[in-house]
């Protein structure tokens, strides 16, 4: 095992919290939307993009980061937020549209901002990439060795912002790690029908930066590859592109009928569940007993339950507050 026990257990525990949260959200999201699905109805209205199965990318990369490193993420970002250390109660409250949320209910699930750990996400494909470049630029100008990580999907790699951001970060030798999370689908369109080349990591060459591919949905493999990219950035050697293959267990959005997907596919993917695999490895190493595992699982569930309860119990914002916070005081 290329990592020590403490690290491996930490990665395992974090993935469990994420999986628990996403699976809880599957249930919570459907409250009030039945018998006929109404996207604007129920406890959590609006769109919902969940990342069950994609835990390794988030956890393997963020394990190397400090609170003062910036992370930008896409529309499907709960796993990145949790792995970065975003306050889970305030994040849940924001998803529920409550006054106690990260954005006082003004942002919602796709627009989560936690300045305490420099996390932000956006619903516009690839839009977080230039922002990460800017955070890295500031770190360099301010002589800090903090870095920025930009998470985006394989679909985003065809957006202009991807190319502009890689070029600019390479040109100015900025401390950014660009992480392409390849879950095979951009909504319904598989990578092979959208991208002219087979490996996004190969695009790094066009910008003169290293491109690394991690071909399995394995948190240890991601952890190792990310460690190199993060070190490179932190010591001032510039950006890298990390392409990680992962598996999206759920639809693009909750309610997605997934007509474009073979119904057996998710069953097949779940046979190589990265959390189950890591658990087996930990037990084989003698680093985890069934009793300890039960406790970790119980604690993960309790963390999620507490956050959801906080969100449920929190008040909704007063309607007139919609007019506030467009601008801050002049300064």
């Amino acid at each position: 095992m290329p990592v020590d026990q403490k690290t491996a257990l930490s990665l395992y525990q974090q993935m469990l919290v994420i999986r628990n949260f996403e699976e809880t959200m599957v249930q919570v999201y459907m409250e009030g939307k039945t018998p006929v699905f109404d996207i604007g109805g129920g406890t959590v209205p609006g769109e919902m993009h969940l990342a069950a199965g994609q835990e390794p990318v988030a956890v393997g990369v963020c394990a190397h980061l400090r609170p003062s490193d910036t992370v930008t993420g896409p529309h499907r970002a709960h796993h990145f937020a949790i792995a970065k250390g975003v306050d889970l109660k305030k994040m849940s409250a924001e998803i529920f549209g409550k006054e106690t949320g990260l954005g006082k209910g003004k942002g919602g699930h796709m627009h989560l901002f936690d300045p305490a750990v420099k996390f932000g996400c956006s619903g516009i494909i690839a839009a977080g990439m230039p922002v990460a470049v800017g955070a890295a630029l500031a770190a360099k100008m301010q002589h800090r060795d903090d870095i920025a990580v930009s998470f985006f999907g394989e679909g985003a790699a065809n957006q202009g912002a991807f190319h502009e951001s890689l070029n600019l970060a390479a040109l100015w030798k900025l401390p950014v790690v660009f992480v392409c999370e390849d879950n095979s689908y951009a909504i319904s369109v598989p990578k092979g029908r959208a991208t002219a080349i087979a490996r996004n990591a190969d695009r790094a060459q066009s910008y003169g930066i290293p491109g690394i591919s991690v071909n399995e949905n394995d948190v240890i493999a991601v952890y190792e590859a990310a460690g190199e990219a993060v070190s490179r950035a932190r010591r001032g050697d510039g950006p890298s592109l990390l392409e990680v293959h992962t598996d999206r267990y759920l639809g693009h959005f909750q309610g997605d009928p997934e007509v474009y997907r073979d119904p057996q596919e998710v069953q097949r993917l779940k046979q190589r569940d990265p959390i189950v695999r890591l658990r087996q490895q930990l037990m084989e190493q003698g680093w985890l007993t069934p009793e300890q595992d039960a406790e970790i699982q119980r604690a993960a569930k309790a963390t999620v339950d507490e956050a959801i309860a906080f969100a449920r119990q929190s008040p909704s914002p007063a309607p007139e507050e919609a007019l506030e916070d467009v601008f801050v005081p002049v300064g």
Binding site: T70, T72, G101, L102, G103, K104, G105, K106, G107, G108, H111, F113, P115, K118, G120, S122, I124, A127, M129, P130, V131, A132, V133, G134, A135, A136, L137, A138, A139, M141, Q142, A148, G160, A161, E164, S165, N167, L168, L171, E324, D325, V326, F327, V328, P329, V330, G331
Partner: protein
């Protein structure tokens, strides 16, 4: 304290404002296309590279999405970026970062995040740069919530508003009319040079300026059209018509009180707008008066704006679509004397 005033161009006033703020605050830096070595295509950043060096005055690749987005990321990390979008007409290639991110992140974060970014951009027609390089698209930006919109018409206003913009903790889109910059390669405009104090000063946003007092008609306008309106007012004065020229200076925030106050005095409203006629600034001004001062109007409100057509290249065509002093004077005459 003595105030040293000298005649300088609008471009010089802007670059001086930026230089003074960069000297005062190490967090301020500038990036954009041709803003460093060239000093900005429209002269807005002349002299900055020599004074502050490459780290703080950066030429960028032609990557507006990347560098405007980078301004956002840098601002979130405590910097105060000034970023140039060379021609406002180019906003199409980067508008997502501007209106969906720069303008909305503060709100979506419940006010927890500040974005002290100043986006400077050039606009305006009259020198045959055709449809894609002649627009005055402040109406587009003013329509979308989350960004302040500043449009100075004179060197004095340009410096005060620029310093204010840089010090504001919110996103400001600062529009520079190419014709008032005082560039050697553009048609000379006398008002492109004017008295400007050497010392730094600010002009608050949301305060319109009566550039010429009058009693018979209110002409509300902004940017280069302020000068066309003043020219018309001069002509009208010779005919016994007293026109008040109200320079809005900022569209967001908009000084609605000043507009209403002026119309209550003159009872006639003419809006002059270099942007396209429909669904923009001119409609907003007239709606404001219709909502708050309808009873004070003795004649229907009128507007002179660019018609809803792309701006044509050929000189007679371009001159036909643009507002000018003669058109303003004719409209004012009709309103005052009855058509």
């Amino acid at each position: 304290m003595a105030v040293h005033i000298r005649e300088i161009t609008t471009a010089r006033a802007i670059s001086e404002a930026i230089a003074q703020e960069m000297a005062r605050d190490p967090r301020v830096f500038v990036m954009g296309e041709d803003i460093a070595r060239y000093g900005g295509i429209f002269g807005a950043t002349q002299g900055l590279l020599d004074q502050f060096g490459e780290d703080r005055v950066r030429d960028t690749p032609i990557s507006e999405t990347a560098f405007i987005g980078a301004a956002i990321g840098a601002a979130l990390e405590g910097m105060r970026p000034i970023v140039e979008l060379m021609f406002v007409d180019f906003f199409g290639v980067c508008m997502d970062q501007i209106y969906n991110h720069l303008a909305k992140i503060t709100y979506m974060s419940g006010g927890n995040l500040h974005l002290p970014v100043t986006l400077i951009t050039a606009f305006g027609a009259g020198y045959n740069d055709a449809a894609q390089h002649s627009q005055s698209l402040y109406g587009v930006f003013a329509h979308l919530p989350g960004m302040k919109v500043v449009v100075p018409a004179t060197p004095y206003d340009a410096k005060g508003l620029m310093i204010q913009a840089i010090r504001d903790d919110n996103p400001v889109i600062y529009f520079m009319h190419k014709g008032v910059m005082g560039l050697g390669w553009m048609t000379m405009l006398e008002a492109a040079a004017g008295p400007v104090p050497e010392e730094p000063y600010t002009i608050p946003f949301g305060v319109a300026d009566v550039k010429r007092e009058g009693t018979d008609i209110t002409i509300v306008t902004i940017g280069m059209m302020v000068h066309r309106a003043l020219e018309a007012a001069q002509t009208l004065a010779g005919e016994g018509i007293s026109a008040e020229v109200l320079d809005l200076r900022t569209l967001v925030p908009l000084d609605r009180d000043a507009i209403v106050q002026s119309v209550r005095k003159t009872h006639r409203l003419l809006v002059v707008d270099e942007d396209y006629r429909s669904f923009g600034m001119s409609g907003e001004i007239i709606a404001t008066v219709a909502e708050s001062a309808l009873d004070y109007l003795d004649a229907p409100a009128r507007r002179i704006a660019v018609p809803d057509v792309p701006i044509p290249y050929s000189r007679p065509l371009e001159q036909f679509v643009l507002p000018n002093a003669a058109k303003i004077a004719t409209a004012a005459r009709e309103l005052v004397q009855g058509a």
